[in-house]
C-alpha cells in the first residue's frame, strides 16, 4: 500500500462532489425550496470546486493521463503557487465550502461527499503529497549532427606501438572491430568481405 497517492482519489471524489453540489443546487433553486439561496450558493461552490479540481496533478511515479483540455486551468492554478500546491489548504478549503450546503436537504449530499474528499486530502497532506502541474514535455528535435557517426579514427589493428592514443568510444555501433591498444592478436586477423 506504500505507493498509494491518496490525493488522486481525493481529486476524483472532490470533482464528483462539485458536480453533485451543482446538481443539488440547481434542484433547490429551480424548485424554490425553502431557504433556496443555499442552493444558489451550492451552485457557485460546486462550479468553483470543479474548476479547482479539474486539472489532475502529476503522479509521483510514472506518466499521468491529463484530463481533456486541462492545461488552461493548470496555468491558472500554477499562479497561486503554494495555495494550490498544498493539500492541507485544500482540505480546509473544501471542508469550509461544504458547510453552508449542509443546511439544505437538496445539497447535503454534496456536503457529505466534499467533506469526505476533504478528509482524503488531509490524509494526502499528512503523507507529504503535493499538487504538481503536468507540464508538456518539450519535443526533442533530432540533432542532425549527432546521428552522424564518426569514422574510425584509428587504422585497423596493426599496432604502431609508439603513437598509440586511447581507443575512441562507441566503436561497436558503426566502426566495427574495436581498435584496441597495442596488442598482439592471438589469432591472425583476416579481412572478411561482408
Amino acid at each position: 500500500m506504500g505507493q498509494i497517492e491518496w490525493a488522486m482519489w481525493a481529486n476524483e471524489q472532490a470533482l464528483a462532489s462539485g458536480l453533485i453540489l451543482i446538481t443539488g443546487g440547481i434542484v433547490a433553486t429551480a424548485g424554490r425550496f425553502t431557504q433556496w439561496y443555499f442552493g444558489a450558493y451550492s451552485i457557485a461552490a460546486g462550479v468553483f470546486v470543479c474548476l479547482l479540481e479539474y486539472p489532475r496533478g502529476k503522479r509521483a511515479k510514472g506518466t499521468t493521463m491529463e484530463r481533456c483540455g486541462q492545461k488552461y486551468m493548470t496555468t491558472v492554478l500554477k499562479l497561486f503557487g503554494p495555495l494550490t500546491r498544498n493539500y492541507y489548504i485544500r482540505a480546509v478549503l473544501h471542508l469550509m465550502l461544504s458547510v453552508p450546503a449542509g443546511f439544505l436537504l437538496a445539497t447535503i449530499l454534496g456536503t457529505a461527499c466534499l467533506a469526505i474528499a476533504s478528509g482524503i486530502y488531509l490524509l494526502a497532506a499528512v503523507r507529504g503529497e503535493q499538487w504538481m502541474p503536468i507540464e508538456p514535455k518539450p519535443r526533442q528535435r533530432p540533432q542532425v549532427g549527432a546521428t552522424i557517426k564518426q569514422p574510425p579514427s584509428n587504422p585497423p589493428p596493426r599496432p604502431p606501438a609508439e603513437a598509440r592514443k586511447k581507443p575512441s568510444e562507441g566503436e561497436e555501433a558503426a566502426a566495427g572491430v574495436s581498435a584496441g591498444g597495442p596488442q598482439a592478436n592471438p589469432i591472425p586477423v583476416t579481412d572478411e568481405v561482408v
Binding site: 498509494i4 471524489q13 464528483a16 425550496f33 461527499c113 555501433a173 558503426a174 566495427g176 561482408v194
Partner: protein, 476 residues
C-alpha cells in the same frame, strides 16, 4: 490479457456504473421535490385539500392511516430524512455508491488498484441498504376499503365536508406500500453468495507448487498442481497469497498447455503485490509461501486449432496466452491429434524490448529445436518485431548480419525492427496459401485489432473457394 483487462467485466462495470447513477439522480431529485411539497402541505393553514390530507391521523387507534410523513409543521425535511429508515438508508447507499464510483475510475483502478479493491467492498452496505430501504412504508396509497368510502373522483372536490356525518365521503385511509426492492435483488444476491461459496471452496483446495523458476528481468514462473483442476488454452486464474495480502486476488494468464502435467503462470513485477510475491519466492531460506488459486476463467481459445493456417499476433504482454497456445499446438502436432487441423502457423511477436519476455524467447528456442529434430522446421514461422530499437541495436545487428542465430534473441529467425507491414504479410500469406482458410488471432491493443481486421477484409478473396482470412474477436 493485461493485468486487469477482462473485457466483459469492463463493459459490465461501465454499464453498471453509469446507468444506475443516472437513475439514482432522478430518484433523489424526485424525492426532494416530493418532500418539499409534503413540507409545504404540512405548513399550509388555508384548509386546502393538501393540508387536510396532511393532517390525517398519525398512530391513532385506527392505525396509522396518514399520508404525509412530515408529522408536524416544525419538523424539517432534513429531520425526517435522517430519522426514517428510508432516508437514512438512502443517504448511506448513495454515499457508498459515490465512493465506489470515484475509486473505480479507470485512472484509479489502473494505478492504485488497492484503493479500488478495498473501497468496492462498500457494496455490502449498498445491497443491504437497498433491501431495507422501503421497510418504513413512506410511499403511501389509499387502502382498498377506503376507496369504497372515499372515491377520489367523487370526493376530491368536497373535501371540506368529509367530517360531516351526512357526507358520502369519509376520511381517506392510507397505508404504506410494502417494500419491493428485495424482489429485484433476491435472486442476484443468492447467486452471488452461491458463487462466493463455490469460489471459496475451490480456493481451499490445496495448491502444490512443483517448480519455481526465476527468469531474468524479474519474471517468476510458478508451476503448480491442484486437485480437480483442468484448463483450456487461453484461460486465466486468480491467485491469492495470504502471507502477502489476505483479500487480494490477482489474475494471471495460464502459460502452460492443457497437455502438461502441471499448470503454470509467469508473474512479472508490475506493482506492490507482484513485487512482494517475487521477493517472497526469491528468499531461499524461508519456506515457500502458500498460494491459493481460483479458476480457470475465460473462454477457451479452441478455435485456434480449427484453422489450416493460423496467424497469431501477440503484442507486448499479449504474448502470454500464446505460450499456452503454441505449446498446445506443438503437443497436438507431435501426437498427431485429430483435433488439430493446423498445418502452418505464422506467429508475430511485437514488443518494445524482449527483456521481460526472455522466458518466452526460451520457449521459442526450445520449440525451434524440437521442430528441427522432427524435421518439421516449416511448421512454425515466427517473426519478432522490436519496436523499441535505437541506432545502437541496429548497428549491432548489421554487424552480425551473417551469424546463424539472431543476435538479440538467439533464434534462427532474425529479428525485425519496427512494426510489421501488415499488407506485405497478408499478401505473402495469401499467395502462399491460395486456397486455405486462415484464422487470425490477436492479443494486443485495439488499434492493432482494427488494422488486422481491415487487412482480413482486404486480402480475403471474393471467391469463397480461395483464400479467406477470418479475424477472431477473442481478446483473450
Amino acid at each position: 490479457c493485461d493485468r486487469w483487462g477482462i473485457p466483459a467485466m469492463m463493459f459490465l462495470s461501465c454499464l453498471l456504473c453509469s446507468f444506475p447513477s443516472f437513475h439514482l439522480a432522478i430518484h433523489i431529485i424526485a424525492h426532494l421535490f416530493n418532500f418539499h411539497r409534503y413540507s409545504r402541505s404540512r405548513q399550509a393553514t388555508n384548509g386546502s385539500l393538501a393540508s387536510i390530507l396532511s393532517s390525517l391521523s398519525h398512530g391513532e387507534k385506527e392505525g396509522d392511516s396518514w399520508l404525509n410523513p412530515i408529522q408536524s409543521p416544525d419538523m424539517t425535511v432534513e429531520y425526517v430524512t435522517f430519522t426514517s429508515i428510508a432516508g437514512l438508508t438512502g443517504v448511506i447507499m448513495t454515499i457508498a455508491l459515490i465512493l465506489m464510483v470515484t475509486s473505480a475510475t479507470k485512472f484509479i483502478r489502473k494505478n492504485y488498484f488497492e484503493v479500488f479493491w478495498y473501497t468496492h467492498h462498500l457494496f455490502v452496505f449498498y445491497i443491504v441498504g437497498l433491501g431495507i430501504h422501503g421497510i418504513g412504508g413512506i410511499v403511501r396509497g389509499q387502502t382498498e376499503e377506503s376507496m369504497n368510502e372515499n372515491d377520489p373522483h367523487k370526493c376530491a372536490e368536497s373535501f371540506q365536508k368529509w367530517d360531516n356525518h351526512d357526507s358520502d365521503c369519509r376520511d381517506p385511509q392510507f397505508e404504506g406500500h410494502p417494500p419491493e426492492s428485495w424482489k429485484w435483488i433476491l435472486a442476484p444476491v443468492i447467486l452471488y453468495i452461491f458463487e462466493r461459496i463455490l469460489r471459496f471452496y475451490r480456493s481451499q483446495q490445496k495448491v502444490v507448487i512443483t517448480k519455481v523458476v526465476m527468469h531474468p528481468s524479474k519474471v517468476l514462473e510458478l508451476q503448480m498442481n491442484k486437485g480437480g483442476f483442468s484448463m483450456e488454452v487461453g484461460q486465466y486464474i486468480f491467485v491469492n497469497c495470504p502471507s502477502i495480502s489476505l483479500l487480494e486476488w490477482h489474475p494471471f494468464t495460464l502459460t502452460s498447455a492443457p497437455e502438461e502435467d502441471s499448470f503454470s503462470i509467469h508473474i512479472r513485477a508490475a506493482g506492490d503485490w507482484t513485487e512482494n510475491l517475487i521477493r517472497a519466492f526469491e528468499q531461499q531460506d524461508s519456506s515457500i509461501p502458500r498460494i491459493e488459486v481460483d479458476g480457470p476463467f475465460g473462454t477457451a481459445s479452441e478455435d485456434v486449432f480449427q484453422y489450416e493456417v493460423a496467424m497469431l499476433v501477440g503484442a507486448g504482454i499479449g504474448v502470454t496466452p500464446f505460450a499456452s497456445i503454441l505449446k498446445s499446438i506443438w503437443y497436438k502436432f507431435q501426437h498427431a491429434d485429430h483435433d488439430l487441423k493446423t498445418q502452418k502457423i505464422y506467429f508475430y511477436w511485437i514488443c518494445r524490448e524482449t527483456g521481460a519476455f526472455s522466458w518466452f524467447n526460451d520457449l521459442l528456442i526450445s520449440l525451434e529445436q524440437e521442430m528441427e529434430e522432427l524435421g518439421k522446421v516449416d511448421f512454425l514461422n515466427y517473426r519478432l518485431f522490436l519496436t523499441g530499437w535505437d541506432s545502437n541495436i541496429v548497428g549491432h545487428a548489421a554487424l552480425n548480419f551473417d551469424k546463424a542465430t539472431d543476435i538479440v534473441t538467439g533464434l534462427k529467425q532474425k529479428t525485425s525492427f519496427g512494426r510489421p507491414m501488415w499488407d506485405n504479410e497478408f499478401s505473402t500469406i495469401a499467395t502462399s496459401h491460395p486456397k486455405s482458410v486462415v484464422g487470425v488471432f490477436l492479443c494486443g491493443p485495439r488499434t492493432l485489432a482494427k488494422s488486422l481486421r481491415k487487412c482480413c477484409h482486404r486480402y480475403s478473396s471474393l471467391d469463397p473457394r480461395k483464400v479467406q482470412f477470418y479475424f477472431n474477436k477473442e481478446n483473450f
